[in-house]
Amino acid sequence: MIGHIVNALEQLLSPATLGLSLAGVVVGIVFGALPGISSTMSLAVLMPLSFGLHATDAMMFLMGVFNGSVYGGSVSAILVNIPGTPGAIVTQMDGHPMALRGRAGEALGYATLASGFGGFFGLVVFMTVAPLLASIGLKFQSPEFTGLALLGLASLSAALPGATFKGILAGLFGLLLATIGLDTLTNVLRFDFGSPYLAAGISIIPLAIGIFGLAEVLNNLEGGIARWEVIRTISRVLPPWPDLRRSVPSAVRGSLVGIVVGIIPAAGSAIGVVFSYLQEKRLSRHPERFGTGVPEGVVAPESCNNACIGGDLIPTMSLGIPGDSITAVLMGALLIQGLRPGPLLFRDHPDFVAAVYVALGVAVVLTTAVGLLGARMFATVLSIPKAVLLSAIAILCVVGAYAVNNSLFDVGIMVAFGVVGYLMQKAGFPVVPLVFGLILGPMFEENLRRTLMLSGGDWLVYLRRPISLTLLALAVVTAAYPVWLESRHRRIQGKPAGDGVIGR
């Protein structure tokens, strides 16, 4: 693998590809910094720009957008007190008070360096664990892949506390969407309703752009166009060295949490940052200071959300199970390039895997550099009128969906799923399971049927193979545990007032 990495370094460290990565980082930071534009939306909307590029160049750009947008969320959290992305929901708790006390530059500095640290931590773990997991995955056969896909889908329920039932329905809908079009095993058309467009199936890209891009535009429009109060005075960016050194343990702990949360499919960084913040507060000698502007309150969540990137990429690249909604979109981009993430990618395209490592490493370095050098310009970025931004994003959604097949039908799919995604959110349905269902559906169905064909229709074959049995058991426990927790919570809530839970 080292030889492939050296080759990738030689190939990708040219001014043109570095320029692509830098462009991705800058646009990613700008998008991530703007409240209401999540990292998933940034990647979904900007991904079509990579269609004309070679796969490795496309990764340089997309990894730049990915890493930049995750970091960018901290900018508005600190300067506006509104998280730019879900991964920055707790950064504002101490970042904004620091900014209010005239330490906006330092808060941005802590966030930048912590993001860089977390990003590198995630990269190292990704480079270490993903090949090992892929080598295990190479031993898998159809029953194990069925179990793996089921585990990926089941883990969604654990990641959606309070919306498990609706999440399962959304996942089933996504799986059903995956069955539209030509069945690859028998060449039989399903749910095509006589349309030649539907015969090709529902492409993940227009759906993702609609659900994560247009739906968010509609959500933003719903609340009206508010003006953000931005802190514009940004002085010293680099924090003093002794303070920085004291923050290292927080960065390490935050990164570890980020990795673990990232590896769990569908558990977004928002869960990780809350956990890492609470952990830091619990371990602090002065927990009462949290929320008043302590650097650890910025460092832990920021290292966590950027370490999550490496963690997310582990199941995505090595097993073909998306780590979260962002990597689900990234998988769509890889499929467009003719590359299917999974164990075979490591065996058949080690050069591409090495390019992903390099692309992420370069993105981390450039994000840190742009974050430190460009901190004073961030307030200007946040001055872009929201009306202009929303119109531009809507156009990018249209053009992005059109660019997949140069077809207005795909644009129609994008608009339809934009509306579906918006309405699902209104009705309390999580949208991520739908996308997961669409991605994992073909893998699940193909391997399920292949297993049944080889076993002569014997469903018990899943229970006779230790790994598939383990994966199925894990899937059942993962799906059932949150349901049990929810019903227990409801039972406790249902008790009469005075039991200490509700009614006070």
Partner: protein
Amino acid sequence: MPPLAPEQHARRALGDLLAGTVILTVTAAGWMSLRANRTLATFDFGTDPGPALMPRLLLAGLGAGGLALAGRAAWRLVRSGGLCGGLAARSWAPPLLLPTVFVASLVVYLAGLPVIGFRLATFAFCTAWVFALTHRRGRPPVRAAALALAAAAVITGAVYSVFAGFVKVPLP
């Protein structure tokens, strides 16, 4: 988490009832499509359980889930005094207005794309929306119009040059 007000309960139940109904409609359409597919009904796929297995399992799951969702919501509505409570909560109507108009304008924009071309249609769409949104926020009409025209020109030019020039997408 604070307990929900009765009006919020009714709204949520109404939303669930609607969602459950939509799911049941989708399920019914799916079953009808499967039944109408003669290949699926008559062809022998040998040891392969066939391409209808997965859709049938999923439609059964969705149908049961949709029924449970709608049934539970209907029961909650009946218990909380009927539909009136949910329908009285009309606060959802104004927030939905702008997204609805936006989607409608997007459909008109898409219909106009093959007729007047990408550049003109995009310029008109962006001008209208930037003007409407900035004017709505209290900006004087002349300044809002100037911003709208400038922004629309920049967005159209930038998107066209990047996608048509760089990515080589043959935009209409």
